[in-house]
Symmetry: C2
Subunit: 332 residues, 2 copies
DNA sequence: ATAACGATTGTAATCGATTTCAATATCATA
DNA sequence: TATGATATTGAAATCGATTACAATCGTTAT
């Protein structure tokens, strides 16, 4: 069932069918109707390979993310999809597992004309080099040194806000549980800046690095609390490690937030479900998705100079810092 | 940069270049080498639109899932991707949000030759009809009435095992928190069967229906406990609602598992992180992914009769049923 | 030397759509 | 009626690869 079959059946040329399909140039109302009827009769659907080959365009974007396991990405993707729905573009999700082979493969797919561009969500630093020659937007984990369109929040400022929230509760011995990716470093910088502004001394023994997963946060908090150093607050640069830390504090029968207050970063779906619910920094994930799509779309369809965006974050105070002051049921 | 350019540069015909690209028929070692050198020199990559158009095959499978927000799917997808890596197939993830328009769109994409087949993960019952004429495997949420390849566990048996686990702990008043999708009904059937086998009376007031999210579980448990009915165990047909129930019990200062034991279904990543950690039924997600891919692959590349698979589930006992008998650190 | 054969390479058709350019139909005007 | 302008349609080239078939080359057997 091809456009030729439709043409034959309607006693027209394939050119005319194509014009109808594309609302193109001038086709008389009569023939247009005849064509549409025939198409419906035959149940014809255009072969997009043929079309895309001819048009040199697929109207598909790839969204590359490390893994769908991390629910933090879900809201970003949803934002992207919402925006895509307003256009004639489709979005395909691709897991990279931060594997170079995957990056190369998907970059090649764009060069091979299977997609028009890529939105790279939270990429590792070394991933960027594979995409230099490809329409690209980076969403999260941005870096001033990248020469491409980027959408992110101000991670340093957000970290300052998080630490200030703990300081505002009267905490003075605030530990950091951090990872060493691009925005991790910025958040660490924010932690240090906030302590300095408050006139507090920076203690190396309060800083735990290389923490990415629940277990890392658990172990880091265990070590901190058993080390004998005084700790009354913890800022974890991702919620996952904050949740691990809370679990460890619970195991040690330490009262949250009275003895130790905990704040995370990301606002995972599970952070409000946790017991105690986790205070955190909320990124405008939906907005980041929207803007990422929009910028890539504009980059490809004409009007766009390079355009980096910085969106606004928000402090979410829950039980892990303000205790019973937070109403669980209301939060649900 | 097309195959013609390579041909011109190497002073050969495009046919020969194509043969080299496809390890096809007989090309002399000398020319093969010359071609490969030229390809590398020019940095040529074949246009897959042209190739796929000619071959009438894309070597792409779509994996349709309701939303990546639910981390339960992540392990299935990972299994699919692992298996795909062993072949020359690519996998594209597509969110459906259980929206008919999405189903239609992706089914059309296969008819349009943008992909060769679809793995439908946990589809709603009404989704199937859009795919009747398309190479399809259903992964999870299977149903005897579907006429297509399916991979799943024995949901009824798994539910029986879950309830038996509670019964084994001496619980006698077991409530059900359930949703009404295909496997939800099977799990409900298992719940009833287990009670019957144990000679226990089925009490309608212990059954809460239409629960899918955390909030639903929370509200259901609240209602149960405040209703005055005696409850000493809860079986929730998905972990998300089990976690909600646990949160509610906590808010009511009810001791878990001494007063009420809770078991869920799915083994989300967060279930072991929860406080108390959640006992649950673990599905062999990776295996389901593997098998789904393999069956679709075989369906498309020849040797396959229809082939439905039932894989083995497992009971995971954690704090929410066996209390401190479960070692947290070990579980991490 | 030549026919026959296999190995290698080239020519041209093909996949299914779009689009340029040319051809025809339609209509108004002189 | 003839002319020109405009609206509508068709023929054929094109996108970039694959592949059936034909053509060429080198080698061996007669």
């Amino acid at each position: 069932m091809t456009i030729q079959d439709v043409a034959k059946q309607a006693k027209l040329s394939s050119a005319t069918i194509s014009r109808v399909l594309n609302n193109d140039s001038c086709v008389s109302a009569k023939t247009r109707e005849r064509v549409e009827r025939t198409i419906k009769e035959l149940g014809y659907v255009p072969n997009l390979l043929g079309r895309n080959l001819r048009r040199e365009k697929t109207n598909v974007f790839y969204v590359l993310l490390p893994s769908i396991e991390n629910p933090f990405y879900s809201a970003i993707v949803q934002g992207i999809e919402e925006e895509a729905r307003e256009t004639d573009y489709s979005v395909m999700l691709c897991e990279t597992y931060n594997d170079d082979k995957r990056f190369i493969k998907y970059a090649a797919a764009v060069r091979n004309k299977l997609a028009d561009g890529i939105i790279l969500v939270s990429p590792m630093r070394n991933a960027i080099r594979h995409f230099r020659d490809i329409p690209l937007v980076i969403c999260g984990e941005s870096d001033a040194s990248y020469d491409c369109i980027q959408v992110d929040i101000d991670n340093k400022l957000a970290a300052i806000d998080a630490v200030n929230h703990l300081l505002g509760l009267g905490k003075k011995n605030i530990a950091l549980i951090s990872g060493s990716y691009a925005s991790g470093s910025l958040r660490e910088a924010g932690y240090k800046a906030a302590l300095e502004s408050a006139g507090l001394e920076l203690k190396e023994e309060l800083i735990c690095k290389d923490c990415y997963h629940f277990e890392h946060g658990y172990n880091a908090a265990m070590k901190l609390m058993r080390s004998g150093v005084k700790v009354d607050g913890i800022f974890a640069t991702v919620d996952l490690t904050a949740l691990g830390a809370i679990r460890a504090l619970g195991a040690l029968n330490i009262k949250i937030p009275e003895e130790v207050a905990v704040i995370g970063f990301d606002d995972l779906m599970y952070s409000r479900m946790n017991n105690p619910s986790l205070s955190t920094i909320k990124q405008p994930c939906g907005g980041m998705g929207h803007e990422s799509f929009r910028l890539l779309y504009e980059r490809i369809n004409g009007d766009s100079g390079k355009n980096n965006l910085v969106l606004q974050h928000k402090v979410i105070a829950r039980e892990s810092t303000i205790g019973s002051g937070y109403n669980v049921e209301e939060g649900l």
